[in-house]
Symmetry: C2
Subunit: 451 residues, 2 copies
């Protein structure tokens, strides 16, 4: 049972509600939108990601024989629901912001229009996919902004939350501007460039550190990067210098060294000097070890001679904000706009569009959230991507999405690029949308929902 493709990777209530919808013949068109209610602490913007996986999911959604049989014997559902699920396919429409788009709270990044039971059923997996990749891309973008062009590599698989998280974190961080990943499967599945060095265990498995370095260098086809902090970092740098000539005689070049512990800036300075004095100015220094955007910023601002960085756990788990306050909410059913008014969780009703305006210099100036049929100045951010369950275009190459993200990040005003809180970006609610919200509230109040 592959959870990535199982239709049962959903909450029980999606099925019990589907049963109710079916029996009450409530299968008219429903509009759901995915958005984030508020920014996590330490975020000034978000980067949309995960749409590709959502479209994959929607276009292949079905219940297998095995899943149907299990549902049937669970005695929690009526035969009519099982029958309905047998032939269920997603036949709805999707509009979405392209991946890599910068966005802000209350702006929908995805809209589903489909018969109510379908649109409801896909809630759990859509949220699961968009929450994670958007969270990771948004975190990774912060490292990209402070790295000022220095290469960043994803080393996060081992502490990612499971297999899919490890795989798609490589995708989301590459999309946001990382240079590559260590996760081999992400190379195969997404064509992301792969990078790697060696582990401490490699050094320890040898009786001598210098022997470990030589063995590694002699057996690689390319990209010899030696890990030099297993015992004594500077002593190991000396060994690298000592090895370089004999290796060169064999046609082998040491490409770099990796630091993974201690005071990285201090070690980098000492190691840089040892390498330079040893005639190895071209050997680069890669740093790793509990790095995040704050430590990157420190290392870069203090001009530590580090050429590239591997970022792992903090990025892959979005450690300071391991979830988004995101929602997938019904905004319209059978042509009637609606909204939730639960305390602290109210939403804007109806199907919406977001318009973005730029300054003369090309930077983001403000956004307007309005109803779908209300034209506003600026660039509309939600675009049709699926119609009647079919994708309107082939998947865009990941390289294009990455370029899109780079363009968007380049258009961020300086204040939003800071790691700490900036003045809140100007997101306006149009008068049309405000009017619709009032109309919706009046309609539900007259129906006596207030005590």
């Amino acid at each position: 049972m592959n959870p990535l493709t199982s239709a049962l990777l959903t909450d029980l209530y999606e099925l019990t509600m589907a049963q109710a919808y079916l029996e009450q013949q409530m299968n008219q068109s429903a509009v759901f939108e995915f958005f984030v209610r508020r920014l996590p602490p330490h975020r000034n913007f978000l980067v949309a990601a995960g749409l590709e996986q959502v479209l994959d999911y929607l276009s292949t959604l079905h219940f297998s024989q095995e899943e149907l049989a299990w549902l049937d014997q669970s005695e929690q559902f009526r035969p009519s629901l099982i029958d309905y699920l047998k032939t269920l396919r997603f036949t709805g429409d999707v509009e979405a912001m392209p991946e890599g788009m910068v966005f802000f709270p209350h702006e929908p990044i995805l809209r589903i229009v489909a018969p109510l039971p379908q649109a409801q059923l896909v809630e759990g997996r859509i949220m699961n996919l968009l929450n994670f990749q958007t969270m990771v891309a948004s975190k990774a973008a912060r490292s990209v902004l402070v790295a000022r062009g220095k290469p960043l590599i994803d080393f996060g698989l081992r502490r990612a939350h499971g297999a899919e998280a490890g795989l798609v974190a490589a995708r989301a961080s590459y999309l946001a501007g990382f240079t590559g990943t260590a996760t081999v499967l992400a190379g195969m599945v997404y064509g992301i460039p792969l990078y790697g060095t060696m582990a401490h265990s490699f050094v320890q498995a040898h009786e001598d550190e210098i022997l470990a370095f030589r063995h590694f260098a002699e057996t690689q086809l390319n990209n010899v990067v030696l890990l030099i902090d297993t015992y004594d970092t500077e002593a190991a740098a000396d060994k690298v210098v000592a090895l370089a000539q004999p290796l060169k005689a064999k046609g082998i070049t040491i490409k770099g060294v990796r630091l993974d512990s201690g005071d990285l800036a201090d070690h980098a300075r000492k190691v840089r000097r040892i390498l330079d004095e040893g005639g190895l100015p071209q050997v680069h220094i890669l740093a790793s070890g509990n790095l995040d955007e704050y430590r990157l910023q420190d290392l870069i601002e203090t001009r530590a001679p580090i050429d590239s960085f591997a970022v792992g756990t903090a990025m892959t788990t979005s450690s300071d904000a391991p979830s988004l306050d995101c929602a997938y909410k019904l905004q319209e059913y059978a042509g009637r706009p609606c909204r939730k008014r639960s305390e602290g969780k109210a939403t804007w009703p109806g199907r919406k569009q977001v318009y973005r305006s730029y300054t003369n210099g090309g930077y983001l100036d403000h956004d307007i959230i309005t109803t779908d049929d209300d034209q506003q100045p600026g660039q509309p951010l939600l675009q049709p991507v699926m119609k009647g369950g079919r994708r309107l275009a082939a998947s865009p190459p990941l390289a294009d999405l990455r370029q899109h993200a780079a363009t968007q990040l380049g258009q961020l005003p300086e204040s939003l690029r800071a790691l700490e809180h900036s003045p809140v970006y100007d997101v306006r609610i149009s008068e049309t949308l405000q009017g619709l919200a009032q109309t919706v509230d009046r309609a539900s109040t007259t129906k006596g929902v207030t005590r």
Copy 2:
């Protein structure tokens, strides 16, 4: 390509190191151990989980034709490595703590003994599996301890980090004492009891809230739990009272109501009074909405009349500690113990065992970490589970592991049960192990690794 079973869900360096090991004929027996270096903030203990998935992974590990072909064309590896991978199976031995065991920093919970290239290759996925489930079980156990027997349900799928995280978080939390999950697939795969209610969208899709309640109740086979906070919580409770009699006449019982926003304790008191005065004392109250162990503790200590709790994001993402400072380290190669001495990351060498002693009252008293061949008083916690790549016993039923966890949690001394920091549990390093570390350090120093 299923990342859960792909042998390429690994770091690039595992393959480049394998190539070096093969060419240097370094395929003698290696001992790796998985352990946690230090407790996260706000944790007094950890609960081991994920072993079952590790054993599954090891016993089915292989490279598919497609994966081999991709590696071959990537031009990063020599043909000898591809040949080796073609027939690679895991043939090693595994010792481990049973899932559900409480453990502490520096105590290995898993030991792999296998030919070096094999034992190295599995590093990434083993860490990925054990880090996540152990982290979630450890977080979930805190809610279980404060809930004092009230049922807890996992509602975390939507903000779990991807598909596998959503699925196995249901498993890890159930193992730690949760009562069930909303994730349907976890019911099918692990037999975990399923729970669910209804979404706000269900209420919104109806023009009237009371009509929504009636439709839902009339179409369920059992377990009618109505969500009452979409518009006005107490007004909705009145509607539940009004509906109860007509539904009863049709043989339908309302089992409970769910609160999901606002001041949960205050709403619960008001709703309890409305239900009781309406002749519905048996209708229970389920609370959800950004709950974690701290909010649970508050609600329970202030005696809010809530019967059960749904816990989502905070538990599934282990939001206050979304990773463990865990490691999978080489402790011995070809009979020679070794250890890493990197600054701040030193480890204890050799293959180890953990002995646990209990007080007269049956509570955990202290642990001793020692070498595998050094008998100490107490209960040895690591047990053989795989030999020559084959499991020594069938998978234990999840119910047994859950019982084991419950027993362990029941044996925690009062101080360790607190949500905040307690005095550190007494974990002793035996003289034998301390002596071994000194011997190992002396051996590597005489080889001139210090500058």
